[in-house]
Symmetry: C2
Subunit: 223 residues, 2 copies
Amino acid sequence: MTVRKIEVRERVMARNDELAAQVRDRLAGHGITAINLMSSPGAGKTTLLERTLAVLAEPLDIAVVAGDVQTQNDADRLAAHTGRLVQAIVTGGACHLDALQVNDALDHIDLDKTRLLIIENVGNLVCPASWDLGEKARVVLFTVTEGDDKPLKYPKMFEKADWVVLTKTDLLPYVPFDMQRAVQNCLQINPKLRFIQVSAMSGHGMDEWFDFLRQSVGPMAGV
Amino acid sequence: MTVRKIEVRERVMARNDELAAQVRDRLAGHGITAINLMSSPGAGKTTLLERTLAVLAEPLDIAVVAGDVQTQNDADRLAAHTGRLVQAIVTGGACHLDALQVNDALDHIDLDKTRLLIIENVGNLVCPASWDLGEKARVVLFTVTEGDDKPLKYPKMFEKADWVVLTKTDLLPYVPFDMQRAVQNCLQINPKLRFIQVSAMSGHGMDEWFDFLRQSVGPMAGV
């Protein structure tokens, strides 16, 4: 029973990796940079994305694949800012996006008019870490309200990430969160991680986040 | 491929339900009430549990099965308050506890000296909802920093829950969270849900939470 389960899982993962490679080739063919945005539920992915689209949707030709939607709410919030939004609704208790869903979503996006693809994954700090979506960079949002020990408790997500965006920094005065310890905990899991601190509410750090996105776009992208 | 995956998943779930029924019988045989505590990462499960054990570990003969530990930190925090703590470490990116792990954990607990078993599930608002652990009640922690739309985005967790504990209420003045809308969103998914509001930091609402646990223990338990 267990052996069978593992066998099937391995084949499913191998198939996903093949599809992710296809997605990566397809995006490269159009000069598109893809970012896989992951976090716990409620870490602020949609709000960060809303603020981002308001400023950069046009200048960076951003398209969005949003997986974190069981409701229409998020899609409506994002659609106000970009004409190129595709929902990949995950049903039946699915806990992550996979490369097949992203590949299907690309069929509905004008890739010639896209430079940056942002994939908003399902709110989950465990499962999405295992699924390659063909992205160039993985960004994990880490909220100061979650506690500075989270990288040690959910190591795979931080091990596989390229960037950590610490969100809701406006709440720092009210929560027991040691920023220095949080960064140390991240680096203990993955010494190559880079960091941005933002508050989408106050606007703090948003310029740095925008600069990161601007630099990630184009053939010489350095993400 | 997909068919095979679904077949295996169905058999795994069916086997889990059998084991959960065994756990339920085993607990009933000892007059033990089990509570399955679930939430997003960083919603405050461990802190709530720490405060709870400090007050009720002895009077209610509480034992704990903690699944939300990739590190020793949480176990150390909880072990300071109860001699009956069993870690069920979930490895390899596992995203939930299952009934087999709980059944195995029970072998290491003195069931004759236990009245209340608290199962601290993995921090994840998706996957744990699908796995019966033999509990009597499911409690989902819902933090005010997550946003009041979370029940609509993660409906299965709220559909399957019995109680919602709204945590970190001390942060309400600093976050855009409408408590009335949050409760309405919960009830839209599951009209039978009951609610407790707490702040483990300020102590607000903790008496109500303690009363819920006291009432849940014993042969006439009303959870």
